[in-house]
Amino acid sequence: MSAAHPAAPHEPVLVGETRARLEALFPKYPTRQACLLPALWLVQQARGWISEPAMAEVAEVLGLTPAYVKGVVTFYTMYHTHPVGRHFIQVCTTSPCGLCGAEDVMRALLRETGCGELGATSPDGRFTVVEVECLGACGFATPVLVDDDFHDSVSPEGVAGLLARYP
């Protein structure tokens, strides 16, 4: 997890359509704070990850402190606090999938993407692979999430074909 943080100045993210989508959520909750998880999703969808200046922006809009927002961001595993590859791959290796060969699928993903190790991004910037705990599809081992696409019953042999769909 050692990707360098870009040195470029922060471009505001909660503007335009992203800001409008956030404000459309306000009537659905009795507090602004309750919009925190949705706001973080909006930031991640817009930028691919959630930088500290972006956390400060979210804090400002929702009336929270940057430290509080960071505490929440880092509690949840799906928010990225550093840049990741163009395609983010999550493979389940918890026991039920493990019984059905998930670790072989994970090794094939690391090899075929060139990532080498879990959490690292491939040298071409195309992929990041992480291990994830139970994807809730234990009857369809091995499930793999590529970005927002759910693929089930992935085998080690199927990995190369799967990756080819994500240039």
Binding site: A34, L37, S95, C138
Partner: protein, 435 residues
């Protein structure tokens, strides 16, 4: 039904009858299958009468705890100026369990209907469905169904023309097993870290945003429309075992079976029928070693216990485990139980929210001791140490995550001690590199 497999003759498909039918995902497709009649029936009834019907059905919580649903609803205070909330727990993350995902993927309107009925019953105008972040497909399907239900007037300011306001909001989780715990889930909706809260106060007194709240699992709520349409007596009559366990239950079967899937049974069906007939049994030449029957958080069962077990809340307890969420993790004789239990312990250590010491330290040390056993560095006293750790992790924390880590490990040591000792005596090749 065990989608993608056809309905097995020993199943009782009620919730799962339309799994696999893409058309059932639409408003009209669901209505053509008898959908929305449950809500129409409920809206014509007083809320208290709906609560009584659900009480009479015997329906119990399908998320794991098995608490009587109608009784839970009856704990809600009388309507006042304070808003009431309904929360649907769709944070299905219990290893071995994948039933709620299928309910949302195939029958989103079935869930919305159940949510709306429950909201009416507890005097709530707003319901939140908390869907785990990883369920991208279920999310998209639920989002489309919700938009359609609003467009057709089933939800909103005048639900099905009843004059009742029922709003439903989808809320996306972001990766945290602990948010399946009801108070952690409410904190998560409020924009907080998912730390469980000390109870009391219970949600019916002070839940979401401090207001009276009822929280139910997806499968529980999906059963409610059927109870309204077909009657409480019909539901209560679906019972082959204990009279305290009624209705149907989706059993997720995974691991070493030939046909993994969700099978819907009448409560009280023999467990051997589920594993050996519906799920097709073991692969050729293999025999059953063990089953963790309630999702991963419950004691391991031996093949002998499985052979005797009646699948309902009381029946599984009688065989020393718990029905839990009924996600059955099946292991044949090729499985390395020690390795699998280490992998589960690692799961709990990763998912501990870390606020209670006995959980934070207990899950971590359980994992590390199992790791050294698997690396061929175990000591004879390690098994007693793990059992002692398990005792320190049971009944001593705010929520049961810590208990859930101890249960499979301690029962595994009690029932399969020889497998652990083989590593400790160096009779078995290390399964992990030196730690």
């Amino acid at each position: 039904m065990g989608y993608p497999h056809p309905i097995h003759p020993k199943e009782t498909p009620v919730l799962s009858r339309h799994f696999g039918e893409a058309e059932a995902r639409t408003y009209d497709g669901w209505a053509a299958r008898g959908g929305w009649e449950g809500l129409r029936t409920a809206l014509a009834m007083a809320p208290e009468a709906v609560v009584e019907a659900v009480k009479a059905s015997g329906l119990r919580g399908r998320g794991g705890a098995g608490f009587p649903t109608g009784l839970k609803w009856s704990f809600m205070p009388k309507p006042s100026a304070r808003p009431h909330y309904l929360v649907c727990n769709a944070d299905e993350s219990e290893p071995g369990t994948f039933k709620d995902r299928e309910i949302m993927r195939w029958t989103p309107h079935q869930l919305l209907e159940g949510v709306a009925i429950a909201a009416h019953a507890i005097h709530a105008e707003r319901a939140y469905i908390y869907i785990r972040g990883e369920f991208t497909e279920a999310w998209a399907i639920m989002e489309a169904a919700l938009a359609e239900a609003y467009a057709r007037g089933a939800l909103g300011g005048d639900a099905l023309g009843s004059g009742r306001r029922i709003d439903v909001v989808l809320h996306r989780g972001a990766g945290a097993y602990i948010c399946g715990e009801e108070t952690a889930l409410m904190n998560s909706i409020e924009g907080k870290r998912g730390n469980p809260r000390i109870k009391p106060p219970f949600p019916a007194q002070a839940g979401l945003f401090g207001m009276p709240t009822t929280i139910n699992n997806v499968e529980t709520l999906a059963a409610v429309p059927h109870i309204l349409v077909r009657g409480a007596a019909w539901y209560a009559g679906l019972c082959l075992g204990s009279p305290k366990s009624t209705g149907t239950k989706l059993i997720s079967v995974c691991g070493h079976v030939q046909r993994p899937g969700n099978y819907e049974i009448t409560m009280g069906t023999p467990m051997r029928d589920v594993i050996f007939e519906m799920a097709g049994g073991m692969r050729p030449g293999r025999t059953l070693k063990a089953v963790i029957p309630g999702g991963s958080s419950v004691p391991v069962m031996t093949a002998e216990e499985v052979g005797r077990c009646v699948t309902d809340y009381e029946g599984v307890v009688a065989e020393g485990s718990m029905l839990g969420s009924a996600g059955m993790i099946v292991m044949d004789d090729s499985a390395d139980l020690v390795y699998q239990l280490w992998r589960l312990a690692r799961f709990y250590a990763h998912e501990s929210c870390a606020q209670c010491t006995n959980c934070r330290e207990g899950t971590g040390w359980t994992t590390r001791v199992l790791e050294r056993i698997l690396a061929g560095q175990g000591k004879p006293e390690d098994l007693d140490l793990l059992v002692d750790l398990g005792e320190q992790m049971t009944g001593k924390t705010i929520c049961v995550l810590s208990d859930s880590c101890a249960a499979p490990v301690v029962s595994g040591i009690r029932k399969f001690r020889g497998e652990f000792e083989a590593y400790i005596r160096r009779e078995r090749q290390p399964a992990l590199a030196t730690v």
